[in-house]
Symmetry: C2
């Protein structure tokens, strides 16, 4: 099993007297230590207009992080294609990929937050079509060595050659989040890697991985177990009270996400948020407790076919970062992953 | 007098066996040394669709550079606003500004290259209006602490608060290139700093600085001599033949820029390019020769009111970088700048 990190960042510091920007520096320092501890990757969200200084320019934060680390892969989870000019995004991603020696994992999505669709003036019912058009342009931008034109529904480009090329060939590793059978099928068809959310229970995770494997193989490709990364809330608790407090913090953060994302008078959008509404389910999915508790849950995930886990350490707990790496990860690295 | 650097970068290496991306790493290494030598700033171009892997995602390259340096200010010269979503650009600039501790100099422009207008599908005759609208949105994005909406000619945003704020207050230092009286007046009206090109002769530079000073003061503000940065080609030559070869290299690079920028059948666009067409004028403007030759030219520029010089060291010559810093700059730092 391999282990990466998943989470957000905010510019404001966690204390009132910390200057603006301290939160970004805390994020960088946390992941510089993660790099030294041997974590494989760090995936970071992209969001806009939240009002709590949540990271918006994710590729810039990850560029800084990649410049400060040596081995850590840097990932987006996810860049929302309908907000971005696909040519500029292809250039930015390729530039980071070259600078970092091919360490970019580009997670992409179509968006789910009502306030972001409204803010950018993008009709939510066009999200899928805009995602598809943007991804087509990006792939052509990375792979075409000849000038080309694109006259689409949203984007017009005339006689362009998009540079630089990426370090990874034919383009940066792409990841997509999915939950439903239809969306998992689309990830397979696009040849992307699959991100699974931190809320679904272990049996559901197992079903999704099996479906993705089947879809990939039905397309005539070899399934790579490392092409599925599963996010989980992780907290190494000192005792029962500490565990309870961590679960309550996680619940508050989830609720904040649900509140900011949902349209007035509606229950919010994506499969991720629909799974996030059951408190008991969230607690069951979280890897929160003693190292032994966490190891048991990791074994269950491994048995369900999970070979790549993304730990979301909500508050950025250094103690959890270190204890997870020191006390839990080694047992799973010693046993080679079961190949499905 | 203070001294910065101005130039471009390309992803491809300078030799055939260097891998793609080596040119970016050379750019970074060059400027890491410049930081150690005490250069004040590095301004970098943004261009698209050239076919020679010229830097396109400039803020990402500068983010990496800022992560690798401590004092060097990082600048764009210039980000072309008509290519960018102004909200995303405001977020990216503020994020870099926070990460770097306020070291961003954001040069902005309206574009001048025919192939870029064509490529992005932006009518060249809308450049000025698009620049104005985008800058209005960016300034509001950086300064509004309340949610706002913008319904403009090109951009629509609804109920947004743009985060993070920048480190510099009220927003990152802005720079604009200008040559004509009308455009210099606009720079003053916008409260921006002024970039002057590397081709205009010293008397013209003096006239422009005087005009800018007059415009700034007529608006009731105090003129800061450091608010004008003048670009010059710089090469410390070993002898006459070395000088001649450097001037010829510079002429070839200029011609490449003119060729890629101009519309079919037309002479190119901007004042920068019109100045770039006279070979004898270009040679007279360049600081190319022995340290003594260069010092004489710097004295003339200083007498014309130049207190901030951006050296463009075309080929990225390390010897010029070091000799300019060691043998030429100190004499100008010892003599306090003449305040106009």
């Amino acid at each position: 099993m391999i282990f990466g990190l998943f989470g957000g960042a905010q510019a404001a510091g966690s204390t009132l007297d910390a200057g603006m920007g301290q939160g970004f520096h805390d994020y960088i320092d946390f992941h510089v230590e993660a790099d030294a501890l041997g974590y494989h990757s760090a995936f970071c969200v992209e969001h806009h207009f939240t009002g709590w200084t949540q990271i918006s320019a994710t590729l810039n934060l990850l560029t800084w992080l990649a410049a400060r680390t040596r081995h850590l892969r840097v990932g987006t989870a996810v860049m929302v294609l309908p907000w971005h000019n696909p040519v500029l995004l292809a250039e930015q991603a390729a530039t980071l990929d070259l600078l970092s020696g091919g360490r970019l994992d580009l997670g992409i999505g179509k968006g789910y937050r009502h306030n972001e669709f409204k803010g950018f003036g993008v009709p939510a019912d066009e999200a899928e079509a805009r995602f598809d058009e943007a991804l087509d342009v990006m792939i052509r931008a990375w792979t075409s060595t000849e000038r080309f034109s694109h006259h689409g529904r949203v984007w017009q480009f005339d006689d362009i050659i998009v540079e630089p090329p990426a370090a990874q060939k034919p383009y940066p590793a792409l990841w997509m989040a999915a939950g439903s059978a239809a969306s998992i099928r689309k990830v397979a068809e696009r040849g992307c890697n699959l991100l699974l959310d931190q809320f679904a229970q272990v049996d559901v995770i197992g079903e999704r991985i099996a479906l993705f494997k089947q879809e990939v193989e039905s397309l005539g490709r070899v399934f790579d177990p490392m092409s599925v990364a599963v996010a989980r809330d992780v907290y190494v608790a000192k005792d029962a009270a500490d565990r309870r407090a961590a679960l309550e913090r996680a619940a508050r953060m989830r609720q904040r996400t649900i509140d900011v994302a949902r349209a007035p008078g509606q229950n919010g959008g994506s499969h991720v948020l629909s799974y996030a509404t059951s408190a008991s389910g969230n607690e069951a999915a979280a890897l929160c407790g003693s190292p032994d508790d966490i190891a048991r849950k990791l074994e269950a995930l491994q048995a369900a076919g999970v070979h790549y886990l993304l730990a979301s350490m909500g508050g950025g707990s250094r103690e959890t970062l270190r204890r997870f790496a020191d006390e839990i990860v080694p047992a799973f690295q010693r046993h080679p992953a079961h190949i499905m």
